[in-house]
Amino acid sequence: MVLEMPLLLAAPLTGGGVLALVGHRRAAADINVLFSVLTFLAAASLTGRIIAQGPITVLHAQFFVDPLNVFLVTLTAFVGMTTSIFSRPYMRIERDHGRVSDGGMRLYHSMFQMFIFTMLLVLTTNNLGIMWVAMEAATLTTVLLVALYRTPASLEAAWKYFILCGVGIAQALFGTILVYFAAEKVLGPGMGSLLWTHLDEVRARLDPTIMSIAFVFLLVGYGTKVGLVPLHNWLPDAHAEGPTPISAVLSGLLLNVALYALIRCKVITDGALTALTASGPGAPFAGRLMMGFGLVSVLVAAFFLSRQRDVKRMFAYSSIEHMGLTTFAFGMGGPVASFAGLLHMTVHSLTKSAIFFAVGHAVQKAGTQVMQDIRGLLRVSPTVGWGLMLGTLAILGMPPFGVFASEFLILTTAIAEQPWAAPVLVLSLGVAFAAIFGKVQPMVFGDATAQRLPHRPALLPVFAHLAIVLVLGLYMPPYLAEWYRQAARLIG
C-alpha cells in the first residue's frame, strides 16, 4: 500500500474541514500554511517513489500516478504551499482594510484547502468520470472566493465565471459520456470502462468516429477552463476581481490542471484515430484542433494586452497567451514539442504566481489596480519592485529565465514542423513584449505614489519561484530532464 497517496488527498481535505471550524481566528492562516506544507511533503515523497519505482496504481486502479501527473502534483502542492505563505500577511492586510468580513476569512481558508484538494483529485484520479466531477468541484470552490469582496464587480465576475464554466464543463460531461459509450463496446459496462489506464490499453480499438466527436466536446468543455479563445471571457474578470492569492492559484494551477485533463483525453483520441492514419487525412485530428485553438488564443490575447488598464487583468490576458502557447505545443506533439510544453507549464505556473504575489503587494501599497496610478514601486519597496520587474522579464521570455528556454524550443519546433504558424507566434510574442514591458516599466521606476503597509509582506515565495525559473533556464538537472522526457513520451 502506498501511504503517500491517501496522505496527499487527506491533508487538504482535513485542512478544509478543520479551517471551517477554526473560522476567522488569527491562527487560521498558520494552520492553512501547516496543511499546505503537509500536502507538499506528501507530494514530494510520492515523487520520490515514482522516480524510484515507475508508474503506480492505487486502490483497485482508481488512482494512477505516472511521470506526467506526478510532476503536476508536485507543482500544484508547491505553488499551493507558497501561496498559503504569501496569503498569510496579504489576507491580514485585506482584513485590516475592511475588505473581508470574519465569515469571509473562514470561507477563504477553508475553500483554499478544498480547492487544492479538488485539483489534486483531478490530477491523480484514474477515472475520467471522477475527473469531471472534481473539475466541476474546483469551479464550485473558487466561485465563492472570486466574489469574496462582495463588490458589484466581483459578483459580476463570479456570476460570469460560474455560468460560462458551468456551460463549458457540461459539454465536457457529454464528451465523457461519449468516451464511456465508445469504451463500453470494448471493455463492457461498469467503472472499469472509464479508467484511463484501461482505455489507454485498448485505445486502438475504440471507435474513431465517436472518439473524434467526443474529443470536440471535451476540448470545448475543458478548453473553457484552460481559457482558450473564444471561451476565455470569464478568465480576466475572475482574475481581476478575486483576491490576489486566488488569482495566483487560478492562473498558476487551475489552468494547468484543466490542460492536463485535455492532454489525457488527447492521448486516447490519438490512439483511436491511428487506425485512420494509413487511410488518409484526419489522423492528427486532435492535435490540429489544439494547435488552432492555441494559436488563436496566443494571437488574440497578445493584442488585448495593450488595451488593459487593470494590472491583474493584464496578467490574466498574459496567462491566456501562455496557455495558448502550451496548447499549441501539445497540439504539435512529438517528443521535443511535448517536452517544451511540459517545461512551459512549469515555468509559467511558477513565474505567473510570483508575479501575482508581487502585484498583490504593489496593489495594496498603491490602493488601486489601475496601472496608471501605480508608480515608483522601487522607491517604496525595492523587493516588491524588483520582484515585479524580474517576474515580468521572466514571463516575457527574456534569457536566462526558464520561459526563454521553453518558448525557444516551441518556436524552433514550430519553424521545423509547422512553418505557417511560426510568424504568427513571433508576432504575438513581440506584441506581448511591447505591451507588458511598456506598462510595467513606469510602475516600477519613477516617482513613488505608494504607501507603507502595517504587515511585512511575504516576498520569499516570489524570489523562491523566480530562482527556480532562473535555474531551469540555466541548467536543468539530468533527472528532471529525464522525468520530463518520460512524460513527453507518454503524451506522444
Binding site: 459578483l155 455560468i163 456551460v167 460531461l173 459520456i177 464511456y180 459509450f181 468516429t209 466527436i213 488595451r307
Partner: protein, 220 residues
C-alpha cells in the same frame, strides 16, 4: 405488454422531453418555468425507470430514484422557496422575438439529429434513437441560457441542461456508473445552493435580478 410497447413508450417520453424543452424556451412566467422544470424531471424519472425495467439494469432504478428525489422534489422546492423569498413569484419576463428563438431552436434540433446520427448507428441500446433528442435538449437549454437575462431562468437553464445530459447517458449507455452519477448529482446540488446564495447577493447589490446589469466588466 410493457415489454412490447416499451421502446415506443420511451420514444414517446423522449418526444415529451423535447416538447418541454421548447415550452421552457418560450415560457415567460418564472413560476411556470419552475413547474416545467419539475415536469421535465418527472418525465426523466419515468423514462429512466422504464429503461431500468425493460433492460433489467438494477443500478438504473437507483438513478431513477435519485432523479425523483433531486430533480422533481428537492430542486424545484428550493427554487420555489427562492422566488417566494425574493418576491418574484408572479414576475413575467419580457422576451423579445419568441418566434425567432423557436426557429433557431428548430435549427439546433436538426443539427443535433445530424450530429448524433453516426453515434446512434453504433449504439446497441434499444434507446439509441433518443440520443439525438438528448443532444437537442442540451442545445435548447443552452439557447435558453443565452436568451434569458434574469438570474433565476438562467439557473433553470443550467439545471435543465444537466437533465438533458443525464438523459443522454441513459439513452446511449444505460446510465453512467453509479459513483459518477452520485458525484454529478452532488455537484449539481452544491451548484444550485451556491447560485441561490449568489442570487440574493446580486439583488442586494444591484436591486434587480436582471443580469443585463452585470455588464460593467468588459473590454474598453
Amino acid at each position: 405488454m410493457l415489454e412490447h410497447y416499451g421502446p415506443q413508450l420511451i420514444n414517446l417520453l423522449a418526444a415529451v422531453l423535447l416538447l418541454l424543452a421548447f415550452a421552457m424556451l418560450s415560457q415567460r412566467r418564472i413560476l411556470s418555468l419552475i413547474n416545467l422544470f419539475a415536469a421535465q424531471g418527472f418525465v426523466l424519472f419515468l423514462s429512466t425507470a422504464l429503461v431500468a425495467y425493460l433492460t433489467d439494469q438494477h443500478h438504473l432504478y437507483w438513478s431513477a430514484l435519485l432523479t425523483l428525489a433531486l430533480k422533481v422534489v428537492l430542486l424545484p422546492w428550493i427554487l420555489h422557496r427562492l422566488i417566494r423569498r425574493l418576491n418574484v413569484k408572479w414576475d413575467v419576463e419580457t422576451l423579445i422575438n419568441i418566434p425567432t428563438t423557436m426557429l433557431v431552436g428548430i435549427v439546433l434540433v436538426i443539427l443535433a439529429f445530424n450530429l448524433s446520427l453516426p453515434i446512434s448507428r453504433l449504439a446497441g441500446t434499444m434507446t439509441r434513437s433518443t440520443l439525438g433528442i438528448a443532444l437537442a435538449c442540451v442545445l435548447l437549454s443552452f439557447l435558453m441560457m443565452i436568451t434569458r437575462s434574469k438570474a433565476v431562468p438562467q439557473v433553470i437553464g443550467f439545471l435543465s441542461m444537466e437533465n438533458a445530459l443525464f438523459f443522454a447517458a441513459t439513452g446511449a449507455v444505460y446510465g453512467m456508473p453509479m459513483v459518477i452519477e452520485l458525484g454529478v448529482a452532488l455537484d449539481v446540488l452544491v451548484a444550485s445552493l451556491i447560485l441561490g446564495i449568489f442570487i440574493f447577493e446580486i439583488r442586494e447589490r444591484f436591486d434587480t435580478l436582471d443580469t443585463r446589469h452585470l455588464e460593467k466588466l468588459k473590454e474598453l
